[in-house]
Point group: C2
Chain length 283, copies 2
């Protein structure tokens, strides 16, 4: 998915947001804004949003001398999600279709995303997620495929939602004989998950945890590590979580189950879904 | 009120918003974004938001060759507000304190504002406005003053809300012997009201309608016309509506009743009120 005019404006907003998280010195934030302003005329709309966002966040980290401006928010959101782990586990276990419920929860977790909204009421998000379900729902197709295959690759997105990804993986392993790989970002970018947070959550205990090689907030195949390239090629099913991974992987010719919440209005328009809706779509 | 870092980012967002309203040609919008990007390092944080916003919207109008990009939205919002006129009139007439209810409705109308949110459910806005009331409420002080004085000046803001301003004026004239002046923008900017829309709504039949001389989306005293300077000096009470007029007039030493909805998070933080709250405050 190509960059939109709105993305260029959103990135300037993200600079202020990430800057305020990392420093009280407005002059430093202003300097980054001015540098970005100088780059705006050069931004090529044939690029994807993750490509440009990576450049911006690398600039922020370099200028502020902070490796992970979103660290505090990630920790807070992981803790929030962990606090709700027992409730969500019960919701899944009590559902008619536990796989669908686990997928809904994993997509719902996608709205615990500091990138777009720093104030999140997790309980409200969980409840409305279960009530509304998926706007595009390819669960049946997914279940059919699960019966026939073994290798599943999940391309992870944000840190907080990964807690619910673990529940999804546990539910899948209860019902199917699967070999699951979980691919995370190579370095901190936005509130995305890296090996560090994935280990804290315990994803290495339920899956093969790999570094995707990508440090953009969306999987860019040209940055892929050898382990990712192998997993991507060998996987019978790929699930990619979040808008960023769609923006990156939709540029490849590999078919993928996209599991996400359409958070941004531009993305929702492009995807043909209402803003805020949950999506599980094989494309 | 001085410009914040967030305002600089919000203006880039407004360029895309206004641009898309006025043209389908993305290249033209991109050109305006690039020009604005070149201006960003020069934006002085000691200016007010209306000063800078005026420059941006003048640039948009010039580049696109469109005098009033928000025309369609203004017309739509005025019509929406007119459709709800009978309901709102009844709400006011049935209230315990009709003046307070009319003030709440006039502030509520302030959220019919294309500048921050293009999708507005008027009924929801009206209902929650009456339910929540004012976060800062100087109605008693206002009523005390009304008993002793005659000349009232209202500094208008957006087009849609002016329909409810007319109801406020009618309610005030029922109970008090007042001479009311209604001051509007000199030229189209954002979705703000000018003499043209004010006449369509019929504000000239209930007040002295004047051109404020200001074409920024917030009253800047240095742009004031002679009629405005006279009305501002002679008024016993000034009501200024909306964030933009606060941002401009709070720089003067004249005391004013500010009537608004704190729509933007930066403004709300500055004002010490929750985002989305209604405010009627004498400052």
């Amino acid at each position: 998915m190509k960059l939109q005019l709105e993305c260029i404006a959103c990135m300037l907003r993200q600079i202020v947001e990430a800057g305020r998280m990392a420093t009280d010195d407005e002059k430093k934030i202003r300097r980054i804004m001015d540098i970005y302003a100088g780059m705006i005329p050069e931004i090529n709309l044939y690029k994807t949003a993750p490509e440009v966002t990576e450049v911006i966040h690398t600039l922020i980290k370099k200028e502020l001398g902070v490796e992970d401006p979103y660290k505090e928010y990630k920790d807070k959101h992981i803790q929030l999600a962990l606090d709700h782990y027992p409730v969500v586990k019960k919701i899944i276990e009590n559902a008619d279709n536990t796989i669908e419920a686990a997928l809904i929860m994993a997509a719902t977790g996608n709205s615990i995303d500091a990138g777009l909204n720093l104030k999140v009421n997790v309980v409200e998000v969980i409840e409305s997620g279960m009530k509304d379900g998926f706007y595009f729902n390819d669960t049946s197709l997914f279940e059919e495929k699960l019966k026939k295959v073994r290798k599943l690759l999940i391309v992870a997105d944000n840190s907080g939602e990964a807690v619910f990804d673990k529940l999804l993986i546990e539910e899948l392993l209860k019902l199917y004989d699967l070999d699951i790989t979980y691919a995370v970002r190579s370095r901190p970018v936005l509130n995305d998950i890296t090996v560090k947070e994935a280990r804290e959550i315990g994803l290495d205990r339920v899956s093969h945890l790999i570094d995707s090689g990508c440090s953009a907030p969306g999987m860019l195949i040209e940055q892929a590590s050898q382990p990712f390239i192998k997993a991507f090629a060998e996987a019978d099913i790929v699930i990619a979580k979040g808008q960023g991974n769609y923006e990156g992987l939709s540029e490849t010719d590999r078919r993928v189950f996209y599991l996400l919440k359409a958070k941004c209005s531009v993305f929702a328009r492009e995807f043909g879904a209402p803003q805020g809706s949950l999506i599980f779509k094989y494309l």
